[in-house]
């Protein structure tokens, strides 16, 4: 591959719309492509891609490869990988960006290995050195205690971007771009693993990852019952309930509640933590919140180094009074 050029985003659609992760990747990709003076393309995988293709152009893509195949209508790791590999080999991009979503967690490393190159994993920020045309990526390591700046030594240089760190660009429907159909040949027998059952455990109501307000509980709650109080509070605020890993590991709430490095990345306007110490691995999932509020009885707790507002006190006293006051304020 001698003449690699451009930035290729690997995107997807959900419910006929360009996914939010894809929009975020286009923001990161647009900047990188402009700095390189090269093209920004996006590869979209699916069965029907008309609407998301047009959206991709309005969010910054110069070119869309619509990678269509009936087998791509539903995510299956082996088939998605085969399609992505075919696209990367054909397009020969200099840089490939992929979202570190649940699917990306398995796709990105396997794609990199298949192409014989490195992957900058879980990046918070990328930039290109225009002279050498190399990608530099900032990625948290040691649970977020440190940031590593890494460089990929082989092309394509691949980075997996953490969800919700880049804001989508303002869509511009007058932007021009080219949609190229990229049909792939897929052999269904390549699909070696099979999903035989799906079980939903997430709470009803506002989704944790979309909520404007999130109230999270930690080990200091001491059991599952107090989460009902947090739910009452979250309902008053039109928000959702989350948890630390300690609360999940204790079996108080399902794992879909977990916020953090190995849980969900959330960016609410207000994040209220109750009896959470603020370990770096927890903060990795919520440091993008606009305002963090901490209720914790230990004034020395790390969470007070991360929060904008805090109350030092026992949640058993603080939370009921806080909830009552919120009820009065929001319902009057």
């Amino acid at each position: 591959m001698a003449d690699e050029s451009g930035v290729l985003v690997l995107g997807d659609s959900t419910g006929g719309e360009l996914s939010s992760m894809s929009r975020e990747l286009l923001t990161a990709g647009r900047k990188a492509a402009d700095d390189l003076g090269e093209e920004l393309a996006i590869g979209l995988l699916g069965a029907t891609l008309d609407q998301p293709s047009q959206q991709a152009i309005s969010y910054g893509a110069d070119k869309v490869y619509a990678v269509t195949h009936p087998q791509l209508a539903q995510y299956q790791v082996d088939l998605y990988l085969a399609a992505m590999e075919a696209l990367c080999r054909d397009v020969s991009p200099r840089i490939v960006l992929i979202g570190r979503t649940n699917e990306g967690r398995e796709l990105a490393p396997r794609l990199a290995f298949r192409l014989g190159v490195g992957l900058a994993q879980d990046c918070l920020e990328i930039s290109v050195d225009a002279g050498s045309k190399t990608l530099l990526a900032n990625r948290p390591v040691y649970g977020g205690n440190a940031i590593a700046v890494v460089r990929c030594n082989y092309t394509p240089q691949i980075a997996a971007i953490r969800p919700k760190v880049y804001e989508p660009l303002e869509p511009d429907s007058s932007r021009q771009g080219q949609v190229v159909s990229f049909p792939v040949e897929l052999d269904p027998s390549q699909a070696r693993s099979q999903v035989v059952n799906v079980v939903e455990e997430a709470a009803e109501g506002v989704k944790l990852e979309d909520a404007r307000v999130v109230v999270s509980g930690g080990r200091g709650l001491g059991g599952p019952e107090p989460f009902k109080d947090l739910e009452t509070l979250a309902n008053l605020l039109g928000g959702a309930v989350g948890a630390s890993r300690a609360a999940v590991d204790s079996g108080w709430v399902p794992s879909s509640y977990q916020v953090g490095l190995t849980g969900k990345t959330i960016t609410p306007e207000v994040y209220i933590t109750v009896a959470i110490s603020g370990a770096s691995q927890h903060m990795a999932g919520c440091s993008g919140a606009k305002v963090i509020v901490a209720i914790n009885k230990d004034a020395e707790s790390n969470i007070f180094k991360e929060a904008r507002y805090g109350v030092v006190g026992d949640w058993e006293q603080v939370v009921p009074a806080f909830t009552e006051a919120v009820r009065e304020l929001t319902q009057s």
Binding site: R110, F113, G118, V149, V150, S193, E201, S280, E306, A321
Partner: protein, 266 residues
Amino acid sequence: MPVSIAVLAKQVIDPEMPMAAFRIDADAKAVVPPSNIPPVVNGFDENAVEAALQIKDSQEASITVISTGTSFALDVMKKPLSMGADELVLLQDDAFENSIDSFFTAQLLAAAIRKLGGFDLIICGRQASDWDNAQVPLGVAEILGLSCISLGKKVEIKDGKVSVERITNDGYEVVEAPLPALVTVSNELGQPRYPTLRGIMAATRKQPTIWSSADLDADASQLEPRITLQELFVPVRDQQCEIIEGDDAADAGRQLALKLREAKLI
């Protein structure tokens, strides 16, 4: 035929160490291991050992733990043996100092797995708590041409297939693949069992197999680093916290609500 299982386990700096003990050497681009806190087996890898032991609880199985690194605390790395694993293979060489580069690590582990004749099932942790790469297992699967199911919270073997409860955003899904296969597991698998006294006694008597780079048949071109660390730094936090006071804790809670209202946050 007993099921042959490999568990890939990494020795890491204890992630539960107090934050104040976390130091980096910016010039060396390395984290300074705290002198008074011993390393541990990566937490998710203890989950992987537990997953293997659960299979062994219900059927005949042998468990080989494989690790690569420059130096090992033997008593730490023997913990999986004391939990009930059968063999320990350590790939130890000064040249194996490259833990940021998952490509390199995966090549070494894959070479060792080949040398050991392959396994029905390879179980790994979802990520190592030092560099949080979450790549090595997927790489090993790619190199060996195995199917790979990640983020398991329950792993079973039946009828020549592995069945995994895989964590998703909103719950979990049950995924099946024919053997041989590779699976990564997460903490949702549950607390790893404690070593028994008998296990500890047995582990002290067992000697690990130790291989250096000369013992491994890895393609040199595949050992060129794919990733270079340019810089390592500790991020600065400049958040100022306003502590809301009150007559008592309950009053502070009320004042907090007023404050958030005033700031138009609720």
